[in-house]
């Protein structure tokens, strides 16, 4: 449903190299790689936020609805959660339903800054769902959450993907364990400029991803 033909992206020096990939409905991609390698940059390109990348480089995006969970919640702090969700097209009742789906039933009249970090992130996730996305982009959704909250959010996201089999997901993370729970496909971004060093489907054998990541990281060491 989406085809990437990215020629590269540089900020003074090249950050992203050539990236070719296709994303199909039902793909649950975990995007891994060393920190600072350009994972968020790639996500922004896919979301169409990078104006230096021509629109033809991401074929099929105009027809897709995209829900983007940023690292910060990026809800409007001067609007209630309900109003924030209504701004992306939900009705008031739909907004309450989406909030209830992420465990925030009855929180519609709260302001984002009245919530804890974990709750605010779930509210932002509710906003992603409110646009009925074809493609869900998640940027480090578990960062700075305690293990219990991170675990709950993982199960929540996996559940959402199960309910919406036609939806695709790209989730940036640095933890192979996240991929084991969430992903059916793995992207590994590395190199200078960064390219997709690995793009393949993964099964559910335990330990597979850790072993794979170990090999990929050693590869990086040997190459440098």
């Amino acid at each position: 449903m989406l085809e990437l033909q990215i020629a590269g992206r540089s900020f003074g020096q090249p950050v992203l190299g050539e990236i070719f990939a296709t994303i199909e409905r039902g793909d649950r991609i975990c995007l891994l790689g060393p920190s600072g390698i350009g994972k968020t940059t790639l996500l922004n390109v896919i979301a169409g936020l990078d104006k230096t990348i021509p629109a033809e480089a991401i074929i099929g995006r105009e027809k897709l609805r995209v829900g983007y969970l940023f690292q910060e919640h990026r809800l409007l702090p001067w609007r209630t959660l309900n109003a924030n969700l209504q701004l992306v097209g939900a009705t008031s009742q739909e907004a309450e339903d989406h909030l209830a789906n992420v465990g925030l039933k009855g929180y519609g009249h709260y302001l984002p800054d009245q919530l804890s970090l974990g709750m605010a992130r779930r509210a932002a996730l509710a906003r992603c769902l409110a646009v009925r996305p074809d493609l869900l982009l998640l940027d480090e959704p578990f960062a700075s959450l305690d293990p219990v909250m991170a675990g709950e959010l993982k199960i929540l996201i996996a559940g959402i993907m199960d309910v919406n089999p036609g939806m695709a997901m790209i989730c940036v993370t640095h933890d192979g364990g996240d991929a084991e729970i969430l992903a059916n496909r793995l992207w590994y971004l590395d190199g200078k400029p960064a390219r997709l060093q690995w793009d393949d489907r993964i099964g559910s054998e335990p330990g597979l991803i850790d072993g794979l990541l170990g090999r990929l990281r050693r590869l990086d060491l040997a190459g440098s």
């Binding site: 979301a47 169409g48 936020l49 983007y68 409007l76 701004l87 009245q114 919530l115 804890s116």
Partner: protein, 258 residues
């Protein structure tokens, strides 16, 4: 204590100004000069003008000009400020012009408008607007420069309409700057309006000051000035402060939930 609690005691607002009025009364009583009337005399003049209807006629004429000029200046200045704050090229193109207008004396604009367009209402209001627009534009430009790019990206991803972006993303962030422009604007505009009226209108507080000046009627000058200061203060208390409280409520949410 008051330093710690951050809120000064209520009586502290009622010390300096009343003392000043008392001092004024004392000096006026000692001098017994018509050039420095006592506060009571000024109040008496104010009552007389009010009873005759003169005060209300001129006050409303001035207030009308202030409102029209203020509204036009805020709309124009905000639009220019946003465009200049968002686009570096536009800013570079128009910045020298803005500096020129900022430093153009109010009196020059007023005279030029009257010379070119005659002693008419439109020329008067236009002169005030031209004086005020650069101030608003400069203030709003600062706000537009500091708009949060993270919320801009969010608005782009979620395909906000132009109107949504303006009303829900920009205005709340620009609000403190708009408020500063409003406060400064109101004070500046009514002072310029008086000059405009003094030079070329036959109604308004400025016109009345002109008449009083010709006969050295200091009591009337003070009465009219104080009346208009009271009007501006009323606008501050009845409109601006409630608006500010309402719009910045989100900054101090009650009882954070965690």
């Amino acid at each position: 204590m008051s330093k710690l609690s951050g809120r000064p005691p209520a009586w502290s607002y009622w010390v300096v100004l009343p003392s000043f009025v008392l001092l004024w009364g004392l000096i006026a009583w000692l001098l017994e000069s018509p050039l420095l009337p006592t506060p009571l005399h000024v109040l008496d003049t104010l009552m007389r003008e009010s009873a005759s209807g003169e005060l209300w006629h001129h006050l409303s004429a001035t207030l009308g000009r202030v409102i029209v000029a203020f509204t036009l200046a805020m709309l124009l200045g905000t639009a220019i400020g946003i465009v200049m704050g968002r686009s570096k090229t536009t800013n570079a193109l128009f910045d020298p012009m803005l500096v020129l207008l900022l430093n153009l004396p109010a009196l020059v604009t007023i005279i030029l408008m009257y010379v070119w367009f005659g002693l008419v209402e439109v020329a008067a209001v236009m002169a005030v607007v031209i004086n005020k627009v650069p101030n608003v534009a400069v203030t709003v430009r600062e706000g537009a420069k500091s708009l949060d790019h993270r919320l801009e990206e969010m608005a782009t991803v979620y395909e906000f309409t132009r109107w949504q972006r303006f009303r829900d993303v920009w205005v709340p962030q620009l609000f403190p700057y708009l408020m500063a422009a409003t406060r400064g604007g109101l004070a500046l505009i009514w002072k310029i309006v008086l000059v405009v009226e003094l030079l070329g209108r036959s109604s308004g507080v400025g016109f009345q000051l002109h008449l009083s000046f010709q006969v050295f009627d200091v009591a009337a000058i003070l009465a009219y000035s104080l009346a208009f200061i009271a009007v501006v203060q009323l606008i501050e208390l009845a409109i601006l402060q409630p608006l500010e409280r309402r719009s910045s409520r989100w900054r101090h949410p009650e009882a954070a939930h965690a």
